[in-house]
């Protein structure tokens, strides 16, 4: 066997996805440290971009004097009320348009017509109808959350494997049995995707609503801080929103793992 050997090229490197957990940590640390250093060296006016350490100190003060908690609770109340209202009605309407032909004929055009409206543009109308207290803020969040849930629930039901429906029907399932025992469980992963989208939208809308008309909440905290040039306070508000979003998502992931156990 004196024939030359020709090794097969290993091309699998392009097919592997590698993990770099330390790079993520290092990247975050580098970002914060650069910011801190830039701020201390006076490269940025502290009025516009305070150092992370200064923000952390201010955060601690706002936690200690209870102001942060007060605004956080005010925002959370609005979010939870609007989110609950919007997601329940969204899922109900999605089931309706997904499975009931008359409901679909009635509902889809209305959804198609109202969905493109930026929800914050409805707020003035809601204030006109509901006054300037909590109701319009809760309503605008509910409307914002309604759409991703209605649309995702609808899509999840429409995408349900027809063989599963046939199996259900072949065993004599009623319409209501099909909804409860076939379509809804089949749509659950899509519904959870909708709940995630809704969570992001609810944060966006609570802040927007509070920026327009409020005397409490994270949006108010941020706007007020900007008016008074208290940039540290503003940064604390932004950081709180970031943490809130992360917590919201983590909570939903936990819930999804508990409910969608079959994957």
């Amino acid at each position: 066997m004196d024939e030359p050997l020709h090794p097969v090229p290993d091309r699998s490197r392009l097919l592997r996805l590698r993990q770099h957990p330390w790079l993520s940590v290092a990247g975050m640390a580098a970002l914060v440290l650069t910011w801190e250093a830039a701020s201390r060296a006076g490269l940025m006016p502290r009025l516009f971009l305070p150092a992370p350490s200064a923000c952390a100190v201010r955060a601690w003060e706002l936690i200690a004097n209870g102001q942060l908690a007060e605004h956080l609770v005010a925002s959370l109340r609005r979010i939870l009320a609007g989110y609950a209202l919007g997601s329940v009605t969204g899922i109900a309407v999605g089931i309706g348009t997904g499975f009931f032909s008359r409901f679909r004929a009635l509902g889809l055009p209305v959804i198609a017509a109202t969905y493109p409206i930026p929800k914050i543009a409805i707020l003035p109308l809601l204030i006109l109808w509901l006054g300037i207290g909590e109701p319009p803020k809760i309503a605008v969040i509910a409307i914002g959350v309604f759409f991703p849930l209605a649309i995702n629930t609808h899509a999840g039901i429409v995408a349900c494997d027809p063989t599963l429906l046939r199996a259900g029907v072949s065993f004599g399932a009623s319409r209501w049995d099909l909804v409860r025992k076939v379509l809804l469980p089949a749509a659950l992963p899509m519904i959870f995707a909708g709940l995630r989208l809704g969570a992001g939208i609810s944060l966006l809308l609570v802040v927007s609503a509070e920026l327009i008309a409020a005397d409490s909440g994270l949006g108010f905290l941020i706007l007020n801080a900007a008016d008074l040039l208290q940039t540290e306070d503003l940064m604390v508000g932004l950081a709180t929103l970031s943490l809130l979003g992360i917590a919201f998502n983590a909570g939903l992931s936990w819930l999804e793992r508990r409910i969608v156990r079959w994957r």
Binding site: I157, R166, R261
Partner: protein, 240 residues
């Protein structure tokens, strides 16, 4: 029920299951009913059609829930049927944790659980690999002997038809008509060894001669490449 792709085997099964509307005529079961609530049929689907969010027991109990059986009785009956198909110990597993052969056994247990007059098997072994398929053919024979029910088995696999059936209804395509009813002259209970009998091979050859030309014609028609393209005025499609 044996026939080439596109001959309407599955459509006929759907009609018997009440999952499609006949354009003409009607389908009825004859005779006095011992229990008016006893279902006429239960279907074992080619794609298993198990509910991924239900455990093995939950899937087998589905039809019993539809019959409004009390939960306890349903669980007990489900367990009984799970034992019958040899899946003891897998009661709490989800479908994605099972092999194809096991999934199809769950599907069979689900159909048996409701105690139908007739079991409708819609190419139940087509989605399985060849070895699993051969094994499950043997188990089907045993299951049939153990339950003493009528099995209406649709297949395009000739050996499978000859191995399982007393009578094979061979269909032609375009139009879907009965070509011949072949009586399989091999005594029951059958086991692996019947495949080696001259009678077995002769019957297979005969059936093949009945459908060979049409199967070849089907090959040249791209739109009827597989049984899945059979037009079914299906309830779900209409509703979704």
């Amino acid at each position: 029920m044996l026939g080439p792709s596109g001959c309407g085997k599955t459509t006929l099964l759907n009609l018997i299951a009440g999952l499609a509307t006949p354009t003409r005529g009607r389908i009825a079961f004859e005779g006095a009913l011992a229990d008016p609530r006893q279902p006429f049929t239960a279907v074992v689907f080619q794609e298993f059609a198990l509910f991924p969010w239900r455990t093995v027991t939950g899937n087998v109990a589905f039809g019993l829930e539809m019959l409004r059986l009390p939960a306890r009785a349903a669980q007990e009956r489900a367990r009984e049927c799970i034992r019958l198909v040899g899946l003891e110990g897998f009661e709490t597993k989800y479908p994605h944790q099972l092999s194809g052969g096991m999934k199809q056994r769950v599907s069979m247990a689900r159909a048996l659980a409701v105690d139908p007059i007739m079991l409708l098997m819609d190419e139940p072994l087509s989605a399985l690999d060849a070895q699993t398929r051969t094994l499950l053919q043997g188990e089907l024979v045993k299951l049939w002997a153990a339950t003493n029910k009528s099995f209406f088995h649709v297949t395009h696999n000739i050996e499978e038809a000859v191995f399982l059936a007393h009578r094979i209804v061979v269909l032609s395509r375009r139009p879907g008509r009965i070509r011949e009813i072949v009586t399989v002259d091999i005594p029951h209970p059958r086991d692996e060894h019947v495949r080696a009998l001259p009678r077995f091979g002769e019957t297979v050859d005969h059936c093949w001669s009945l459908i060979r030309d049409e199967a070849r014609a089907a090959l040249l028609e791209p739109e009827s490449a597989g049984p899945s393209v059979i037009a079914e005025p299906g309830l779900p499609a209409g509703r979704l």
